[in-house]
Symmetry: C2
Subunit: 339 residues, 2 copies
């Protein structure tokens, strides 16, 4: 899992080559054109307050590393309202943030907050409701334009300052007391957005300041999932009476080479989880995120075997190793975050 | 809806820029590399029988128009097993084809068949089961390699000849009696695969030969869908107690700018459907597919109004016109095919 967090992310166009029958989700083309133009003039946003963004765009000097095509496509993907609707409708996620903000109200009231990757601005508004003196809501995606409208419509323009740009590029002329961000992606680090939180921390956070969430842990454990295996793999053994077992190798390869997000029960988990990476948001560095490697050993409950492939593998590499040797369906990745 | 069916299709990379949280489906990278290499050496496959494909690739002469990047990404998307699993598991689709093949058994038994875009080869095998003398199973996607394995595993190599290439490029040295294809995409024509059926027809079909399906009709009608409207649009009026109505314009724009495949009931349909395009697979030409335009007039059951935007619009343009004027949720697109 390699990334240069300052100017890269988990977006890979090749992974976006969906079958034509997959549901298509895309951002607004007109906005995306503006986005491209803003990037092409200097390679970064310049980090302007939304209201100033358009007219002063040309005058900006480059600060952070230039945006890559990956960054542009990544930010573009977040300009679509659907992904924000989906995240906000995740009540566990959104209410956990709101609860955490209220639990830390004494550290937020009257203080300066930065919301890294603010999206529609909902976490910034929660912080304003908790009494923040000022909230800098930063997002490089064009959704920042909408966030600014939401802030205005809620008469919070005096408290919440929406900055349309990357944390590497925007200017905040004061130290901040609190950083809040919903940066966790697939396998915790997939989107590499943690790099933006680190950048914000190192640029603006006061010593002893609060970061929400403050830490995160990535676990993995092998699982079995006989229903899914049967649906996706064994399915090919008899297709309308035809033996399509010849499809099995490709079916296994496709099933195991990409992440799958679904609900399983405890009985599916075959071993105690292995800690792949512990993240302390106060101390982790960009350098630590460039490569995440783990040595692991699972004690199988199925056969009493010890599973420890060598050489040590990147976590992305483990899945296929597990699957082909032990016929597990795959690995479960568990993320815990601590507020 | 423009396309140059001989060497283009409905794939548009911009539409593939999904949020990072969307489930990723992709083909196998190794195969995709081979695919690119095969394209780069001459711009087409040369249309080889799978067993000969690798060793003779370099010796091929270009026949059809060169493949575009869109074509390559389109074919690549069909190299993933998941899309074939999804299509085959659509029992209405697959069993309708099998029933149609058996109903036309008298026209297939002892005859020569071409399966355009054979995928895993299931329709070719149905035709073999119906007694076809020979079936040419053609697919430009790397799934053709799997189809060939399935054919071999079912001892049908003498009957089914898998050709890995585009119908524009492959060689079939005899006239055929039957063309079968599952070419219908979103809004019937989205994938532009009908162009390949036309090409196959004009290259190889005997006069009076059978095409399955033989015709198709694209209808549209305005619908209302209050639940969906409420979930996607009204949702923003009160988000955890916050007025996010400022999101409404973008929410409407995003909801209406992309296709949505879901089940609705008859009560959702507001008018009698309008016939956008009738396709007779025996007579339609590539030229007819370059642009599909319709003049339409709906009689609203809601207000007794006649809706007829002018100037006449491409069907892709109707949705927003309808939506913004009449606050319908959108248009339903109905496709009927006749075997």
């Amino acid at each position: 899992m390699n990334s240069s967090p300052a100017y890269s992310n988990g977006y890979h166009p090749q992974q976006q080559q969906h079958g034509m029958r997959d549901k298509v989700r895309r951002g607004t083309r007109a906005r995306s054109r503006e986005l491209r133009e803003s990037f092409s003039s200097g390679g970064n946003f310049g980090g302007l307050r939304v209201s100033e963004h358009d007219k002063q765009q040309q005058q900006q000097q480059q600060q952070g590393a230039p945006c890559t095509d990956f960054d542009m496509a990544y930010f573009h993907s977040y300009a679509h309202v659907g992904i924000h609707e989906e995240m906000i409708k995740d009540r566990v996620r959104t209410e956990t943030y709101r609860t955490a903000i209220m639990q830390h109200q004494s550290s937020i009231a009257g203080k300066v907050v930065v919301d890294v990757g603010c999206g529609t601005g909902i976490l910034s508004i929660f912080c304003a409701q908790a009494g923040a003196k000022r909230v800098y809501a930063v997002d490089a995606s064009d959704i920042a334009v909408q966030a600014n409208e939401v802030v205005k419509a809620n008469n919070l323009s005096e408290t919440i300052i929406v900055l349309h740009g990357r944390v590497e590029d925007v200017d905040i002329d004061e130290e901040v007391d609190v950083i809040i961000s919903e940066w966790m992606g697939y396998m915790l680090l997939y989107e590499s957005m943690l790099g933006s939180v680190i950048t914000a921390r190192d640029r603006w956070l006061k010593p002893g300041g609060l970061i929400l969430p403050s830490s995160a842990t990535l676990y993995m454990a092998p699982i079995t999932h006989s229903d899914r295996y049967s649906e996706s793999i064994d399915f090919w053994r008899n297709v309308y009476g035809i033996d399509m077992s010849a499809m099995l190798p490709l079916a296994k390869q496709c099933a195991f080479e990409e992440p799958c997000v679904e609900t399983i029960v405890g009985e599916n988990v075959l071993t105690w989880p292995h800690v792949v990476k512990q993240v302390d948001c106060h101390t982790i560095t960009l350098h630590e995120l460039e490569s995440v490697t783990t040595n692991y050993k699972f004690k199988s409950m199925m056969r009493g075997l010890s599973l420890s492939p060598s050489p040590p593998s990147h976590i992305c590499g483990c899945v296929s190793v597990q699957v082909y040797i032990f016929q597990f369906f795959g690995l479960i990745i568990v993320i815990t975050t601590y507020f």
